[in-house]
């Protein structure tokens, strides 16, 4: 017996009637932001400048770690599924999918008539080879932990059948991950360095770390996507240079607007600032195995000793929202709306210190701006505010170079960031489950781990929600991660650029898909 799992979606009407209990990943623009409400139209060329991109970037899908490589390759390729702008899951290379009753076996029906840029027809074998590239002993892909639960994947006629080691009702969401693009295969293997793809844009040239040029794929199977004829994607790491390029009309759109000078940019003629509230969050993470952080009272004290609102105001210049020590944005499915919002409370922090049998506490906090923009300043503000609760935080400024190698998951208390994931299961599995590869706080809570596995295969919505709500409570009040703020993705563009009414919030740049979703007004 199989049943269709329809990912939760919210209709446009439901959205306008007000936020549902589930919340939604759609963005409602604040009044006063004028938007081109025109219909999309085809044609023209756009120049986009992003804050990332490196001379060491590669075509290899296992290595895409920056917005540059992600949006460039997402324009060139498709995945099995797509996270739609409203946060629901839409079909892409997979036309439809269904699960076995226990959600351990998934059957994806592969769309027919899709061709690669080279003219080769896309087959289920290509899908199998593309996913297999990230699996197995010799995989050097950053996406390996996502596909590790797959025990078997095989083509069956026009279908691809995936068997998992345990039930996972959210599995199709994993298949939307930007690493897991479908590439042409030969003899059961893909060539990871191929420039071919099945997406809306064909690579004309790519000079890594400088610029990439794409042209529209005339045979793209989606008729209501890929509006630009040509796209040039530039890498401009220097924030002032990026902003100047937009002001002087050298480019039409930039990402990662420098928040310190956003006011100046706002005053420039014909420039629109576009902030998008998403799941990107900035964190201070404690190693829960190491004293004093092994005592939950100390962790709670540190969570009450941080002034969240001040960080949003001063570090994010208001372009963000306060966090509640759970790694999910308020617009995400299963967001716990009844969890008490933590606020800055030195007395409460003192109370927890007393519970831990301490009068005062001295800790070192390792920070570098490569953890997130403004991490050093955020650390200093944290230290100032925590002092009122008798917590003495010594801010240690670490070198940005090699931060993820030498500091993160090595020092007991440090800054980090997360882009967020489309579902709570994905976020919790990679960073909060006991023993997970990127469990930065080394938190290992038996009840949490048990709920996580149970919720993953739970098909009853109400039961599932209850489980996720309890997990969020555990994570917020017992976990080792202080999550003070959610940072908006802040883009800016000229009047030439047409932006859809609903912009995806699962990742930056309209869920990494602005190249195929946006147009020239």
């Amino acid at each position: 017996m199989t049943q269709n799992i329809t990912p939760r979606g919210v209709s446009r009407r439901g959205l306008l009637q007000g936020a549902t209990a589930l919340g939604t990943a759609a963005l409602i623009l604040p009044a006063g932001v004028r938007r081109a409400m025109a219909e999309p139209k085809r044609g023209g060329s756009i120049r986009i400048a992003v804050a990332s991109g490196n001379t060491t970037d590669s075509y290899d899908p296992g290595t895409w770690d920056s917005v540059y490589t992600q949006i460039f390759n997402t324009a060139r390729n498709n995945t099995l599924t797509e996270v739609a702008p409203d946060g629901s899951l839409a079909p892409e290379i997979a036309e439809s999918w269904e699960a076995s009753a226990d959600a351990t076996t998934w059957t994806f029906k592969i769309r027919e008539g899709v061709t690669f840029h080279s003219g080769k027809t896309l087959t289920p074998d290509d899908v199998v080879a593309s996913i297999n590239y990230h699996r197995g002993e010799d995989s050097k892909s950053a996406a390996k932990p996502y596909v590790d639960p797959i025990t078997d994947i095989k083509a069956d006629g026009q279908n691809v059948v995936v068997t998992l080691s345990g039930g996972n009702a959210d599995f199709p969401f994993i298949m939307a991950d930007y690493h897991l693009v479908i590439l042409p295969s030969a003899d059961g293997k893909i060539d990871p360095m191929t420039t071919d793809g099945c997406g809306g844009y064909i690579v004309e040239s790519w000079d890594q770390g400088v610029s990439g040029k794409l042209k529209r794929n005339p045979n793209y199977w989606k008729t209501d996507r890929a509006w630009f004829d040509e796209v040039e994607l530039l890498s401009i790491v220097d924030p002032a240079a990026r902003q100047n390029a937009l002001i002087t009309g050298e480019v039409d759109l930039i990402d990662n607007v420098d928040l310190n000078t956003v006011g100046l940019l706002q005053r420039a003629q014909g420039i629109t600032i576009l902030p998008v509230a998403g799941n990107q969050h900035y964190v201070f993470v404690m190693d829960t195995r190491a004293a004093p952080f092994s005592d939950n009272n100390v962790r709670q004290a540190l969570k009450y000793g941080i002034d969240r609102q001040e960080l949003v105001d001063k570090i994010l210049q208001g372009y963000g929202s306060i966090g509640n020590d759970i790694p999910m944005g308020a617009q995400q499915p299963y967001y716990n709306t009844e969890l008490e919002q933590k606020a800055y409370d030195p007395d409460k922090a003192k109370f927890y210190l007393k519970e831990a049998g301490m009068d005062s506490l001295s800790v070192q906090l390792s920070v570098a701006d490569s953890a997130f923009a403004g991490a050093v300043d955020a650390g200093v503000l944290y230290s100032e505010r925590a002092a009122a609760a008798g917590i003495n935080i010594e801010v240690v400024r670490e070198p940005s170079d090699g931060y993820w190698d030498n500091v993160w998951m090595k020092k007991p208390f440090c800054a980090s960031y997360w882009g967020g994931r489309p579902t709570p299961d994905l976020m919790f599995s990679v960073a909060y489950q006991g023993g997970a590869p990127w469990n930065e706080s080394f938190w290992d809570n038996a009840r949490f781990n048990e709920l996580l596995v149970a919720a993953r295969s739970e098909l009853d919505e109400d039961k599932r929600r209850q489980m996720y709500w309890e997990m969020q409570d555990l994570c917020a009040n017992e976990g080792g991660t202080v999550i003070p703020m959610f940072a908006n993705y802040v883009m800016a563009h000229t009047e030439k650029v047409g932006v859809p009414e609903v912009v995806g919030t699962n990742q930056g740049m309209d869920g990494l898909r602005m190249i195929e979703r946006w147009w020239l007004a």
Binding site: S211, W404, D405
Partner: protein, 317 residues
């Protein structure tokens, strides 16, 4: 003249030895940096298994000396290999950027060298006048500001008003005239940065000579001051001036990463910084050797020219 040829031969041999030593030092330094390419490419999403697989694939699990010798054997045959990070042949990766770096360096030098020599000579001629003080003050001011600040000021004044582009972007279709226009601001920034050094050296070298008896003789003959400087003083002041010009040219080739970043100009500097931060050692080696070779060759040229400018060295008894 034979003395010059033998000097060139000796110095070139020494230069090759220098390059070899530098390649060992650079390799060692890259090895000493914490982390390796596999860790840095995977960054925050690295897991021990994926890093190990990555290392195996790239041969990073081999001992350091084996990797160095493999690289050296390739380099001796003119094969610098491919970038570890994205498999691009290093020759092709570097060609465009080396061209860009040389273009910008020569452009800046073409403005800065004549300008500083002229200003230096004039300052020596009108020493201690208002003109002399003004030129010195300006030159010292522009050298004292950090490069990025000079660059931002120029962008603020000359680019935001729409006179010049704020980005020095070039591609294969850019004509020479267009390239000169597009890269004017970075070239001007570099000019402001290097002019002071060369100008003050020219001025000092000339003023040093002006007290010599033979200059006094020329003045007593009733020669005009300008002619005294150009005909009698300058030829003898050439050696120190040439040395300083060579040093600054080397700087223009190897030290302009900040200007490249601000003006989004794809030169060697940015490539070097990216490759070091990701530990892509074949690229680091190749760029470092180009930088070292620039120093070796420019110093050699400077010494040859200094020797040629000194008759006493050429015609030894």
């Amino acid at each position: 003249m034979s003395i010059v040829w033998s000097m060139i031969a000796k110095r070139l041999a020494l230069g090759l030895l220098t390059l070899f030593v530098i390649s060992v030092i650079i390799f060692g330094a890259t090895e000493l940096l914490p982390g390796d390419l596999a860790k840095n490419i995977l960054g925050q999403s690295a897991t021990p298994e994926t890093v190990a697989a990555f290392r195996r694939e790239l041969g990073l699990d081999l001992p350091a000396h084996t990797r160095y010798i493999n690289w050296l054997l390739g380099a001796l045959q003119g094969d610098f290999g491919t970038s570890l990070a994205n498999k691009r042949p290093i020759a092709d990766l570097i060609a465009t950027r080396l061209g860009n770096t040389l273009f910008l360096a020569l452009y800046a030098a073409a403005i800065a060298v004549p300008l500083s020599l002229a200003l230096g000579v004039l300052a020596a001629l009108y020493r201690n006048s208002i003109f002399d003080r003004a030129v010195n003050a300006l030159a010292l001011t522009s050298i004292s500001f950090p490069e990025f600040f000079v660059a931002y000021i120029l962008i603020f004044v000359l680019a935001q008003s729409g006179l010049f582009p704020s980005m020095a972007r070039m591609d294969a279709t850019t004509t020479f005239a267009e390239a000169l226009y597009r890269t004017f601001l970075p070239a001007l920034t570099l000019t402001l940065v290097v002019t002071a050094h060369m100008m003050r050296m020219t001025r000092a070298a000339i003023i040093n000579l002006l007290a010599s008896p033979y200059i006094e003789m020329a003045r007593l003959k009733g020669m005009k001051p300008m002619r005294v400087i150009l005909k009698h003083a300058l030829p003898n002041a050439l050696a120190p001036i040439i040395t300083v010009v060579a040093l600054n040219l080397a700087y223009l080739i190897t030290g302009v990463v900040v200007v490249e970043v601000v003006f989004v100009y794809p030169g060697l500097g940015q490539l070097m910084v990216d490759s070091v931060s990701k530990r892509d050692f074949p690229v680091v080696q190749a760029v470092a050797l180009i930088f070292a070779a620039a120093y070796v060759l420019l110093n050699l040229t400077a010494d040859v020219l200094s020797t040629l400018s000194n008759p006493r060295l050429i015609h030894r008894k």
